[in-house]
């Protein structure tokens, strides 16, 4: 197998990058208000809705959608399907960027962000969110280590720091060498650890809202919620790989890896099917299926969510569909939207917070969310441009 990943070295300052920077700049403006004038100056959060889209999307969806990293790593490294080797590095890079953005979003959302380190020292083991915080922190470290080989491969023996820093070239090279050796010896450990940690926090996010039984709608309030969150996260891993693989190919002017993507897509119905089975089974067992059809906002949101999960399942079961790149892309998009909607339902739409308040995200909340997404895309572009992430076009 001749697999050689290389940095793209495309022209960096393009129109697209300008658009990304625009979104990031608008985010900075709102960030100033959030940090110096309080939440009310930027958000529509209120006493009944302490969690808004920064939690529902930036944190919950961010974690779910970065699941591509551990699913791809598991399929390729643990289950030995080395055919899809080319997909691993981009997925791990995306996951690292994704979790980094989750951390950044948490930093924005915390009222007393400067106390964020308290979670490391002051423990309350009964809290679900405590466990989420720790697992995410550990997993971010694991992802950093998993991305280290890219840096090592690119710069070892070729360290050329600018200007006065060039004195540090030799020590840096020595460090890279140490990192190289460390990674070779321990990568297996970290890959498996990454999967275990992902299991941990994906499911804990599902447990999180179970502390509010009188607020969360019965369509989503189930003790099975952690398992459902876990299986849906696993289900969206490969669709995310398809999604960003297709877009990256388009935006970087490369041939899309249709064969690889169609190939790995065969696992989608497997995971999706498991999820749908568990979901339906849980709803039937608890006898709440009827409430989905009562025409309320929650009922309709559930129906939409379920449709977005179910339709791709039936389509992607057929090999011919998987080999159609457009259809594959659309189905992947559907699963992604389904997971996003599911997280929104659990954290926002499905929460009945009383008759007094309502919530709709403000311009500032949208702006910062888009700023984070733009930042992530920019980091991805930098990553694939300067590090050996994407494999050469054959």
């Amino acid at each position: 197998m001749n697999i050689k990943a290389l940095p793209l070295r495309h022209r960096f300052w393009t129109l697209n990058v300008a658009v990304l920077l625009f979104f990031m700049a608008s985010g900075v403006v709102f960030a100033y208000f959030r940090f110096f004038h309080g939440f009310a100056s930027v958000t529509n959060l209120n006493p009944a809705y302490p969690f808004g889209i920064w939690i529902a999307f930036d944190v919950a969806c961010g974690v779910a959608l970065a699941a591509g990293g551990f699913t791809t790593a598991a399929i390729v490294e643990i289950f030995g399907r080395h055919r899809y080797h080319a997909l691993v590095r981009p997925a791990i890079l995306t996951a690292f960027i994704g979790y980094f953005l989750v951390g950044l979003a948490v930093f924005f959302d915390l009222g007393k962000y400067y106390n964020i380190w308290h979670a490391l020292v002051y423990w309350n083991g009964t809290s679900v969110l405590f466990e989420v915080a720790w697992c995410v922190m550990l997993y971010l470290s694991v992802l950093a280590i998993e991305n280290l080989p890219n840096v090592v491969e690119q710069f070892r023996g070729r360290v050329a720091l600018p200007g006065p820093l060039s004195a540090l070239n030799a020590p840096t090279d020595w460090l890279l060498g140490k990192a190289d050796g460390f990674c070779r010896r321990t990568m297996a450990f970290f890959v498996i650890a990454g999967v275990v940690l992902s299991f941990g926090h994906q499911s804990s996010l599902g447990t999180m809202m179970l502390i509010a039984p009188y607020k969360l709608h019965e369509l989503w309030y189930t003790p099975l919620s952690p398992l459902l969150f876990l299986t849906s996260a696993v289900s969206v891993g490969i669709p995310m790989v398809v999604f960003e693989g297709t877009l990256a190919a388009k935006f970087f002017g490369r041939k899309p890896e249709t064969e690889l993507l169609s190939g790995i897509a065969k696992y989608i119905p497997l995971f999706l099917g498991t999820y749908l089975l568990l979901r339906l089974g849980d709803l039937a067992y608890r006898g709440v299926l009827a409430t989905a059809f009562d025409g309320s906002l929650q009922g309709n949101a559930f129906l939409l969510e379920f449709a977005l999960f179910a339709v791709p399942y039936f389509i992607l079961k057929r090999r011919r569909s998987r080999q159609n790149p457009t259809l594959l892309f659309l189905c992947s998009l559907s699963v992604i939207c389904a997971v996003v909607l599911n997280r929104f339902n659990v954290f926002l739409i499905g929460m009945d917070m009383g008759p007094e308040f309502n919530y709709f995200p403000s311009v500032g909340e949208w702006a910062i969310t888009f700023a984070f997404i733009a930042f992530g895309v920019l980091l991805y572009k930098i990553g694939v441009n300067y590090l050996p992430i994407l494999e050469e076009d054959h």
Binding site: M1, F35, F36, G38, F39, A40, S41, T43, L45, P47, A48, P50, A74, E77, I78, F79, G80, D109, L110, G111, K112, Y113, N115, I116, H118, A119, Y122, W123, N124, G125, T126, S127, V128, L129, F130, E131, P149, R184, M187, A188, F189, V191, I192, A193, V195, V196, F199, S203, S204, T207, M208, L210, I211, A212, P213, Y214, K215, P223, P226, G354
Partner: protein, 308 residues
């Protein structure tokens, strides 16, 4: 990655050992918490409350809170004249609300932190900024808090209030005058000033007896239920209401008797009991990885030296 069975076992053992040594707070057993007889509480009797709001005034004075008005007189008259909140807020720790606007007889209810026996907020807080004290109050530590607002989601009564307008926000809620009065042996400010005897301060066990005695003495006046005796595992602040006015109509939800945090804590407990499930998953995955490595090796497919 090429790993031999030997290498795998070494790594697996190291990983398992590390995980076992990693000292996270052990998941706690989830028996229902029993109320401590030393805990103080309050009995709010809605049959006696006359709606004078002296408790609101006393509370604001005690805690040095500013007045807030929702009546719009600032726009109409140019000055804020009243302290007229509509719900608990960062400036309002207790509030008198009225039920029965269209009826002849009004009923007043005092809302504030319930100082639960098994507080959901204390279970939910990541860093333990909310804790049940020895005197029964649920105390908030602003220095510890990260401002994540999970406690606001967890509380079934949506009591904790966030300072949305401050650059450095904290959570605000009733303190049961723990540090200003209870420590000195005095009752809470609101209980001390109530002219109608609607707020009774005392040890929770005593208050339940008093409440029961009142119901028994006047069964035509009182609804035969002490709210908070068992709801959500029991609350420190108990309520009595008129026979014809349900607690739900006063905004006190019809909750089950089990504590809210029970479900999440039991799930956490199951998943993280001595880390057995994570280690088991780890070992299984490790085994699968080793198996696939061997299969690849035997089939003669070798990875390159730069493969990880």
């Amino acid at each position: 990655m090429d790993i031999s069975r030997r290498k795998f076992l070494k790594i697996g053992a190291a990983a398992g050992g590390t995980a076992a040594c990693a000292v996270a707070a052990p998941a706690q057993a989830r028996n229902a918490r029993q109320p401590d007889p030393q805990w103080y509480g309050m009995l709010n009797d809605s049959t006696r409350c006359i709606g004078c709001k002296a408790c609101m005034v006393a509370c604001k004075k005690e805690n040095k809170l500013e007045a807030e008005s929702t009546l719009g007189e600032k726009e109409a008259l140019g000055e804020q004249l009243y302290d007229a909140p509509r719900g608990l807020s960062e400036h309002t720790y207790t509030l008198i609300k009225m039920h029965g606007e269209k009826e002849q007889e009004k009923t007043f209810v005092k809302t504030q932190c319930m100082h639960c026996v098994d507080p959901a907020c204390a279970s939910a807080c990541i860093v333990g900024a909310l804790k049940k004290q020895d005197n029964g109050a649920v105390k908030y530590d602003a220095g510890m808090c990260m401002g994540c607002r999970y406690c606001m989601v967890a509380c079934p009564y949506s009591v904790p209030q966030f300072e949305w307008h401050k650059a450095i926000p904290a959570i605000k809620k009733c303190t049961l005058c723990s540090e200003t009065r209870l420590e000195k042996g005095e009752p809470t400010a609101c209980a001390g000033v109530c002219p109608a005897g609607a707020i009774t301060f005392g040890k929770r066990t005593e208050l339940i007896k008093i409440a029961r005695a009142r119901i028994d003495a006047a069964p035509d006046v009182y609804l035969d239920h002490i709210y908070g005796e068992e709801e959500v595992g029991g609350t420190g602040v108990l309520y009595l209401t008129k026979k014809q006015v349900a607690f739900a109509a006063l905004g006190l939800g019809d909750f089950d008797y089990k504590p809210v945090s029970g479900l999440t804590e039991s799930i956490q407990h199951r998943i993280f009991q001595y880390f057995i499930p994570p280690i088991a998953v780890y070992s299984i995955l490790g085994g699968i990885m080793a198996y696939n490595q061997r299969r690849k090796h035997n089939a003669g497919i070798e990875g390159g030296d730069d493969e990880y």
